[in-house]
């Protein structure tokens, strides 16, 4: 099981000092937080994608590549990558690039996002949100698995004989989590492809997302990827830890009550009792997290937000430290002791390479010589499968010169 942190990249006023950090300060801070997470042995660091203030993370792959260069073993991921408004072709390229640069220490989580105006900013219509997410992933899935893609959908221009570069590291696509908290179609897509399903287990009553997690497990088995308990489930969470329980509440309260999201709703005590928000001593956070396993079954990834609500950097780093040294080591043992032998392990690049190649060396694509116009042939790589077919588009000028010929006649 993997344990880690994620950030929504909010730039929030510190309610105690009244000072709002600059974007520059928060961007520097998040790099330090990610590096500390790596140092204390957390498994995952994930960052959100936003395109409006008060957030800073508009370009997750740039940030994650920078962090990858300064860390040793932590897996870098997203929470989430917008599968609705990003062109799936660009997602395929950007994340394959990140996969190479991080030597496979990455995966990604796809989601629809929660900002209504983001759709028109990227030329899309919000009313198409679910359909965009589904269709775009169908294409992304193909782009990472087929050297040459012919594709036609509703929302973007068709592709003819297109090759997304670079090919995934070791020709093993990055692992994909589908994030959703209310949409069975997204859970269905995760199940259909045998991908991971992630429920952001915050901002809702305890176990609110259980029906959707169970739906995903049931459909994962239905599609023949394994048993329900072999389905790959991740949960989000929010934690604030102090050595003593009362200190945790006392120190966290001003940030919680000062938060534009949380502060105007329930009291901290009610919120941490009735929702998965985990506040308290290391032991209390451990016990709370174990209740997630009791409710949702064995799962593969637990991520917590630790740095939101205007927490200053020093406090966020202290949270990472407490999580990594006092909470997660115990949770690893406790979760392992309770784990069903049939439950799936957490996917990594190494495990996916092993599953695909066993003891054989992984494929390393080498391009054939060509003009670089993506129109030159059906086999872009030395070793591209002979069965791959493509129908490159006729260039208008050529069509005029040669008449109306079909690809097969050429």
């Amino acid at each position: 099981m993997q344990f880690g942190i994620f950030s929504v990249s909010d730039v929030t006023r510190n309610p105690i000092t009244g000072v709002t950090p600059s974007e520059a300060e928060r961007i520097d801070a998040i790099v330090k937080i990610a590096k500390r997470a790596d140092e204390v042995g957390l498994d995952v660091f994930a960052i959100g994608e936003h395109h409006n203030p008060p957030f800073f993370s508009s370009s997750p792959t740039t940030l994650l590549a920078h962090i990858a260069a300064q860390t040793q073993r932590i897996i870098l991921s997203t929470a989430v990558t917008l599968i609705t408004t990003n062109d799936p072709v660009k997602i395929a390229e950007d994340y394959a690039m990140l996969q190479h640069l991080s030597k496979g220490r990455m995966d990604l989580m796809l989601g629809r996002g929660n900002t209504v105006p983001v759709y028109p900013w990227f030329g899309q219509d919000m009313r198409d949100g679910v359909a965009l997410a589904l269709e775009n992933y169908n294409l992304l899935h193909k782009l990472w698995r087929e050297d040459v893609v012919d594709w036609q959908g509703k929302f973007r221009t068709p592709l003819q004989g297109f090759t997304s570069i670079p090919r995934p590291l070791d020709d093993v696509p990055p692992f994909v989590w589908h994030g959703s908290i209310r949409t069975p179609e997204i859970a269905e897509q995760a199940a259909f492809y045998g991908n991971g399903y992630f429920a952001n287990n915050i901002l809702a009553p305890n176990l609110h997302f259980l029906p959707l997690v169970n739906f995903y497990r049931e459909r994962f088995e239905h599609y023949g990827h394994g048993t329900e308990e072999q389905a790959v489930v991740g949960l989000g969470g929010y934690a604030f830890i102090a050595k003593r329980s009362q200190d945790a509440y006392d120190r966290f309260r001003p940030y919680f009550e000062g938060s534009p999201i949380y502060g105007k709703t329930y009291r901290l005590e009610e919120y941490s009792r009735d929702t998965p928000l985990s506040v308290g001593s290391p032991q209390e956070v451990i016990d709370r997290t174990l209740t997630f396993r009791e409710g949702f079954g064995d799962y593969q990834r637990q991520l917590w937000v630790l740095d939101a609500m205007g927490l200053p950097l020093e406090m966020a780093l202290e949270q990472v430290e407490l999580l990594g040294t006092e909470v997660v080591p115990v949770l690893r043992k406790e979760m392992a002791a309770r784990r069903s032998p049939g439950a799936a392990g957490a996917p990594t690049h190494q495990s996916l390479v092993q599953a695909k190649y066993r003891d054989q060396p992984p494929r390393q694509p080498r391009p054939n010589a060509n003009r670089g116009d993506n129109l030159t042939g059906v086999r872009p790589y030395h070793d591209t499968d002979e069965s791959v077919t493509a129908s490159p588009p006729l260039v208008v000028g050529q069509a005029a010169r040669f008449g109306n010929i079909t690809p097969a006649e050429r």
Binding site: I186, E188, P205, R219
Partner: protein
């Protein structure tokens, strides 16, 4: 998914939602009279009925918080569950400033759109003057139409002078009779059975028929086909 309700010996579940805030409350008194008459009518037809009353006033702060937080805490959740389990509803609000009370509307604002599909509802309002007589029909009726319920033809409005008039009792009897006949017909249940998939739903929602597992989900949709690797119609 289809849940048989109110059949054979099982009692009809009547739920009052009362937004009156005083004790004693005129609105609650009106709701009680409507509920009592409805139970009499149901019993006279050879069926049994059980009554639950949801007083909103003690939950006012929790309801307001649920509006802001986006989800209800346990106390409010439990009354939503009670309401969702109703076979028939009496909805009663005082009129403030020419409209239904904000507390009443806030409570309705936090329930799922499909919580009361095809269920019969008696609409009731009280006010300090007869000038507000149309609030039940002009404000509550469209609201319960949005919820895809069956408000019965007779709404009940009571201004101070109505409490001394036998005609109020006559109107209550008429509304209770309408509610009972609708319940006995089974039409609401048949409509929900036959047309459930056609309404907008939330997976894992509060409605008694809400989708909670794969067995409840309709996979024969464009989006579900797309989710399983299919394509949408182009164009």
């Amino acid at each position: 998914m289809t849940k048989t309700i109110g059949n054979s010996g099982e009692p009809m579940r009547l739920v009052v939602v009362n937004a009156g805030v005083n004790d004693p409350s005129t609105t609650r008194t009106l709701a009680d009279r409507i509920a009592q008459k409805s139970i009499e009518r149901i019993t006279a037809a050879g069926k049994t009925a059980v009554l639950s009353v949801i007083d909103l006033a003690p939950l006012a702060v929790d309801i307001a918080r649920a509006v802001v937080a986006g989800f209800p805490e346990a106390k409010v959740q439990s009354v939503i569950d009670t309401l969702g389990g109703a076979d028939a509803v009496v909805a009663a609000t005082p009129v403030y400033k020419a409209g239904m009370s904000g507390l009443f509307k806030s409570f309705i604002d936090i329930v799922d759109n499909d919580l009361l599909i095809a269920k019969p509802v008696i609409l009731a309002a009280t006010a300090g003057t007869a000038r507000h007589a149309m609030v039940a029909d002009e404000q509550m009726r469209p609201l319960f139409a949005f919820l895809r319920t069956f408000p019965v033809p007779t709404s009940i409005f009571a201004a101070p002078e109505d409490w001394g008039s036998p005609e109020l009792g006559g109107r209550i009897d008429r509304a209770a009779t309408e509610l009972t006949q609708f319940l006995l017909s089974g039409a609401g249940r048949s409509i929900a059975d036959a047309a459930w998939q056609g309404y907008q739903h939330q997976f894992g929602g509060n409605a008694t028929r809400a989708e909670r597992s794969a067995a409840d989900v309709n996979f024969d949709t464009d989006l579900m086909r797309l989710a399983a690797g299919g394509t949408l119609q182009h164009g």
